[in-house]
């Protein structure tokens, strides 16, 4: 259906290049956010599947992959949280607390979880997908100045949260 053999061949090789260049990094990033390699691979794979299912309509695949993966990770956490709530009804609070602490790298989770969507996306694109501010601004249809200020606000928010967290643990 649709598309000449030549076009689909070049699409295929472009896809293959993108995958080789970017999958290990995306999966590695997911791994910091979830409990195990298997889930990280599944989320990274799902992000690629969603990208390619709509191939041709995504202008910046790297940004798309990171934002999609971040959303999938957030869904994953929400699912875990629902399960924990159900679990909590059936067992002691102690074990639930233990389980929570085992999930992912708390500082990176904090990042994705705590920021409002408007700030989270530029942070993901700029810091994790390594896109220059100019490209982020094009992707998000915001001014460069706005993106810089968003990044700054995000840093301040995170700094405040980190401080609070350290106070609590000390």
């Amino acid at each position: 259906m649709g598309g000449t053999a030549i076009r689909s061949q070049s699409q295929e090789s472009a896809a293959s290049e993108l995958f080789a260049a970017f999958y290990p990094r995306l999966a590695g990033w997911c791994r910091r956010l979830v409990d195990d390699d298997g889930t990280a691979h599944e989320i990274a794979a799902e992000a690629f599947a969603r990208l390619w299912a709509r191939w041709g309509r995504v202008e910046e695949p790297r940004g798309f992959l990171f934002v999609t993966a971040a959303n999938l990770v957030r869904d994953h956490w929400q699912k875990l949280e629902r399960e924990r709530r159900a679990y909590r009804r059936a067992t002691t609070e102690e074990r639930v607390k233990q389980q929570r602490e085992e999930t992912g790298d708390p500082s990176v989770r904090l990042l994705v979880q705590s920021l409002p969507e408007r700030l989270r996306t530029p942070v993901l694109l700029h810091y994790y997908a390594d896109l220059p501010v100019r490209e982020v601004s094009v992707l998000l249809a915001r001014n460069e100045g706005t993106v810089k200020s968003d990044l700054h606000t995000a840093r301040e928010l995170l700094r405040a949260q980190l401080g609070g967290r350290h106070d609590r643990t000390v």
Binding site: M1, Y23, P24, C30, A49, L111, H152, L158
Partner: protein
């Protein structure tokens, strides 16, 4: 890096805890073997499904207007807008109901209009074991064949495909009788444990377009069962794996039992309508 203000921050405070957070040591996970091809296949399948759905919508629009036109000019025509899947009140008697019998039972204004009625009938299926009776649905009959009765059919699980946490199994219905017949739409499908007790709820319909599939003796039609892999260690994520499956062929109230192991995780247990061949729908 072209981030301006950030670079200043970093330079000044090398021990800023934010740096560890925002500029993590890059970590790479190796690509699992075969994953590229697997993900490409999944994506291609989704593209096809999307195309089928949007194509189906176009058919609905066109057929809907044809149907309206037909309804105004021929007020005697009655078309019940429900999917034939498991709501049929069809008495299984394939050999007695020849072409003439079924033709007299189907005062259908135009073939395309019936496609439309099937398409729009996307209400929740009255699947497996509930014994609900829907309206009488005249069998769509493009090749002057009767609807396949349960007694004519053999059910089995065919091959499958998996990727990105998804599991796809093909469900085959084979016409083992000597009579040519047809299948239209979705089956009712439920999972049973070793005691024959139903596990969870019946499969929901994955809404893609369909049309009647004619089965000559020995031929098979198939659909695709879609479930998800286990994602976590939570005991509540997945239902027990089935030992057998119960299928109500489209339009039939008698079911078939056959061995099949399917696991419903994350409440994902869907089935597509039947299409020709034995590699699921959309065929792979």
């Amino acid at each position: 890096m072209t981030g301006l203000s950030d670079d200043d921050d970093r330079g000044g405070r090398p021990l800023d805890p934010l740096d560890a957070l925002l500029r993590p040591a890059v970590e790479f996970l190796p690509v699992p073997p075969g994953s590229f091809q697997r993900i490409r296949r999944t994506a291609a399948r989704r593209r096809r499904a999307k195309a089928a759905v949007s194509g189906g919508l176009a058919v609905v629009v066109v057929a809907g207007s044809l149907y309206l036109a037909g309804a105004f000019t021929a007020p005697g025509a009655t078309v019940v807008v429900t999917p034939p899947a498991s709501s049929g009140h069809y008495a299984p008697g394939p050999s007695s109901s020849g072409p003439a019998a079924s033709a007299s039972r189907t005062p259908v204004p135009a073939p395309s209009a019936t496609t439309g009625s099937a398409q729009t009938g996307t209400a929740r299926p009255s699947t497996g074991g509930r014994g609900t009776t829907g309206a009488v649905v005249p069998p769509v009959d493009p090749a002057s064949t009767p609807m396949c009765a349960t007694s004519q059919l053999t059910a089995s699980l065919g091959g499958g495909d998996a990727g990105a946490g998804n599991v796809y199994r093909y469900l085959l219905l084979t016409n083992h009788s000597r009579t040519t017949c047809h299948l239209t739409g979705f089956p009712g499908l439920s999972m049973l444990d070793a005691n024959g007790t139903q596990i969870g709820v019946p499969a929901t319909q994955e809404r893609i377009g369909y049309s009647p599939v004619v089965l000559r003796p020995g031929e098979s039609a198939s659909d695709t069962i879609h479930t998800a892999n286990r994602q976590t260690n939570s005991s509540t994520e997945c239902l027990p794996t089935s030992v057998r499956l119960r299928i109500y062929p489209p339009g039939n109230k008698a079911s078939l039992l056959f061995p099949g192991q399917v696991t419903d995780c994350d409440d994902l247990f869907t089935v597509t309508p039947f299409t020709a061949g034995s590699t699921g729908n959309p065929p792979s």
